[in-house]
Symmetry: C2
Subunit: 164 residues, 2 copies
Amino acid sequence: MPALGFEHHDHGACIDNAMRAATERCAAQGLQFTPARRRVLEILLKEHKAMGAYDILPHLADDGMSAQPPVAYRALDFLVSNGLAHKIERLNAYVACADPAAHGGGAHSPAFLICRTCGAVEEALAEADASLVGAAAQRAGFTVERVVIEAEGLCPLCAKAPPA
Amino acid sequence: MPALGFEHHDHGACIDNAMRAATERCAAQGLQFTPARRRVLEILLKEHKAMGAYDILPHLADDGMSAQPPVAYRALDFLVSNGLAHKIERLNAYVACADPAAHGGGAHSPAFLICRTCGAVEEALAEADASLVGAAAQRAGFTVERVVIEAEGLCPLCAKAPPA
DNA sequence: CCCGAGAGTGTAATGATATAACATTTGCAA
DNA sequence: TTGCAAATGTTATATCATTACACTCTCGGG
């Protein structure tokens, strides 16, 4: 049951790489990669799917950490601000960034493909400053700072074999 | 204080037109444009901005209608399903469609420009099947059914003169 | 040495958004 | 006129997110 991305991969290595990259990024930028923040990112990477803040709390409790909502939201804010995770507005949920190293430093705005059947989420484009939006914005005299692009539909697996 | 769209216009006529268009559309498609639905659309048109469901309830109460959340949500679901209104995921809020007549019949997925300072929302493109997303989806074997595109930034007025 | 500022955390309470469930009413058609 | 489907009224509850405040820890200046 893949939940993020539509292809198989070496998930253990994937997590290790991502955590290492995050650690380096924080060190390089003077950010505090505290236990709580580290743990929330690990959870997102491990579960490998879009998770609500409240889905994260039990995992924190398992680790003996405080499991009140602000703990999760504060860690998520940090991760999102620094491009280590993203919020899926459509789902009010969060995912680990698929490839933080590919981006400069701070937050960025990828596009997401969301399967409405199995809930899998794939991060699709590095930067989603879709040209169409840019053109429309320019016409309107609007200064774009951030773009949310979320496509909802069917992933290859669900399109082929609708779940029972 | 324009709240939807960034330009002035004859708002009274705008509402009348929109309501007439909605009425015709519902008649043509055998949809029940009931008082509650009609009233909620009127409220959205009148206020002319992105409104939460709970912002709508007091207006319903003023009219002596039931003001429980399900009333608003049911009407909004109807309006959104039939392309007469849209949900702004980023804001958890709803706006009347700027131009229902321009679309076939059902729901459609425009792009929105959202001013982070004054909250104004402008509906930007008729169809937001952004080519970039389409290409990425095709590459991933993903079937897109609906695309949310929401740009956040500064409207021309706020970019020029930041509110006090 | 100490102490004051800033960042992070722990915790309780509350606010904001959305839906479930079920009884009742309405419109329409067999 | 009876019966169904759609819509509505109402209560309760689920879900998502933030406020507020006390506490700790670290680090640099006096």
